[in-house]
Symmetry: C2
Subunit: 337 residues, 2 copies
């Protein structure tokens, strides 16, 4: 199943133009690094047609605005701000996680050094608030508050994630809370800001936020499935990537806590001092499946996506736009089975 973001040509063009206009205000060295990170230029600064990501979050913002007002133009600043925050956190997280690849290219810190990457992340973070503030009106104030709370949640999630690595046991509930902070909060913010900038009522903003949060958690379940069974050509990561890193992802945590007879063998593989070889990786993937971790994440993704859509009923939203939003949502979590 293909993610449906490609069809929204006008919306994607508006997002792209907004991002480029905002990034052009950065001091020259920061603008150059941001342009590389966004996939607009190569390492030397030459324009390229790179894969600059799916722009899923800002598109959710625009489609959420459309559900309340029937049109999306007023929400472009909110969409740009959400994508700025997303990318600031990617740049800093890549430093923290020592990730060398993103979207099939070397990460910003790999190319430009840790110091400049820290500063560019900071610059995009501030730029998000600048774009929101300039939009004017009370929605700017409320939007800035929502965005700031979301960054706090992102940091809480990243702090938890880094601490999980050093722990032998992580509860599924803890892992879900971490995923809610690290992934669901920003998707919820994306749709809530869209509703806010579309002029929605507080109830509509809240309903759209719930929608995005549920979708975000579903998205994380899918992402974690891809981290084990994803096609390297699509994910840009090595096969069994998350198992190689002994990552305590949602399906793995569910498997380890399943009480299944195979769980201790999986726990032993996760405890082993030496890196897992190909046989070990294949066996670990089998064990996540036999312990029910794979099906648990598939079912969670499905039920969260269904609950997200159900939550939009009876909110006096534009029906056609709700259809678009839920189809986009379904396509983003329908990547695995």
């Amino acid at each position: 199943m293909t993610v449906l973001t490609d069809q929204y040509t006008a919306e994607r063009a508006a997002i792209d133009a907004g991002l480029r206009a905002a990034a052009s205000r950065l001091p020259a060295p920061a603008a150059r690094i941001a342009a590389y990170h966004f996939g607009w230029t190569d390492e030397a600064g030459n324009p390229v047609e790179a894969n600059s990501g799916k722009a899923l979050r800002p598109l959710l913002t625009l489609l959420a605005a459309k559900t309340v007002s029937g049109q999306w133009h007023t929400a472009v600043p909110a969409a740009v701000a959400v994508e700025m925050v997303h990318n600031f956190s990617l740049i800093h997280d890549d430093i923290i996680d020592r990730d060398g690849l993103r979207r099939h290219r070397p990460t910003a810190w790999k190319v430009f050094g840790v110091n400049d990457a820290i500063l560019v992340g900071d610059a995009l973070h501030a730029l998000a608030f600048e774009v929101i503030a300039e939009a004017g009106g009370d929605r700017a104030r409320a939007g800035a508050g929502l965005l700031a709370q979301t960054v706090r949640a992102l940091i809480e999630g990243q702090l938890a994630d880094t601490r999980f690595e050093g722990r032998e046991h992580v509860d599924l509930a803890e892992c879900v809370a971490m995923s809610e902070a690290k992934t669901a909060s920003l998707m919820g913010c994306a749709t809530a800001l869209g509703a806010l900038f579309g002029g929605g009522t507080p109830e509509q903003v809240e309903a759209l936020r719930d929608f995005g949060s549920r979708l975000g958690l579903a998205f994380q379940h899918v992402d974690d499935l891809l981290g084990i069974w994803g096609d390297p050509a699509v994910t840009g990561k090595a096969v069994y990537s998350d198992l190689r890193n002994r990552k305590k992802s949602l399906p793995v945590t569910a498997a380890l806590g399943s009480g299944h007879a195979d769980a201790p063998e999986l726990a032993a593989l996760y405890r082993a001092a030496a890196p897992l070889d190909e046989d070990g990786l294949r066996r670990a993937a089998e064990l996540v499946e036999s312990c029910g971790g794979r099906i648990a994440s598939q079912r969670a993704a499905e039920s969260l996506t269904a609950a997200a859509a159900d939550g939009l009923a009876d909110r006096r939203l534009h029906g056609g736009a709700v259809e678009e939003l839920t189809s986009l949502a379904a396509s983003t979590v329908g990547r695995v089975w």
Copy 2:
């Protein structure tokens, strides 16, 4: 001359309470690191009576509010936000500059690691916008915009500063522009936000911003003089600290560009591959002085401070509060001669 911040007991207590209330919302690991950085706790998390800085910038915010409205209480959120931004940038700059000491204590990254220090800086950055947004009204929107522009300037200054290190020649004009971005912008933001949150007119906000910017540049001249001739017991840095690091500070840049017969000898000492020994450091300090760098920064600090005060005339401000603000300003730049 003593900096006059100590006498503002009620204002400092309100700033401290606001900072603590805001920081208490951070996720536990971030709150602990922030409390250490602010000097509220030791490395193990035990409360201490540490030197948590002069709180100069937030105090400038409150006194600026008083010049327009006669009282400072309404500006406490703005003061807290300014101090949050200042401390976020200190934490990230300490990582970037590999500085191991701040306020006579090990820096946050030294104690808690680079990864957590990056995240805590990010958290304080977002918290500044959260506090401003919660203050409500159009001042919150305008304040968030001003704060975001200021962070952009801070980053521009830090990017320029790190690039100066790798260059043999830096113009005085470039060095002034860097200091304006890195130091003056936040002091100008501090006083502008005070005027804004005090209910000042756009003209008053602009006049207070100019006041803070001029004061900030004067402050940087003084700080750079202290970086060479400051008493280590007061500055917390080694004697001749900036000369040891071959830092292209304002007095050094002025001396190098003076055309004085001694300038080439100073340039040679700055180019030398080996670290400067005590004789070399003493000689470099003499040369900065003989080339007129010391007196140039002293005079710049004095004239900027005078111009800052002059700029507040005929703005229909509260006379007693202007007196307080200019006295505080004079005391912060009267530390050297």
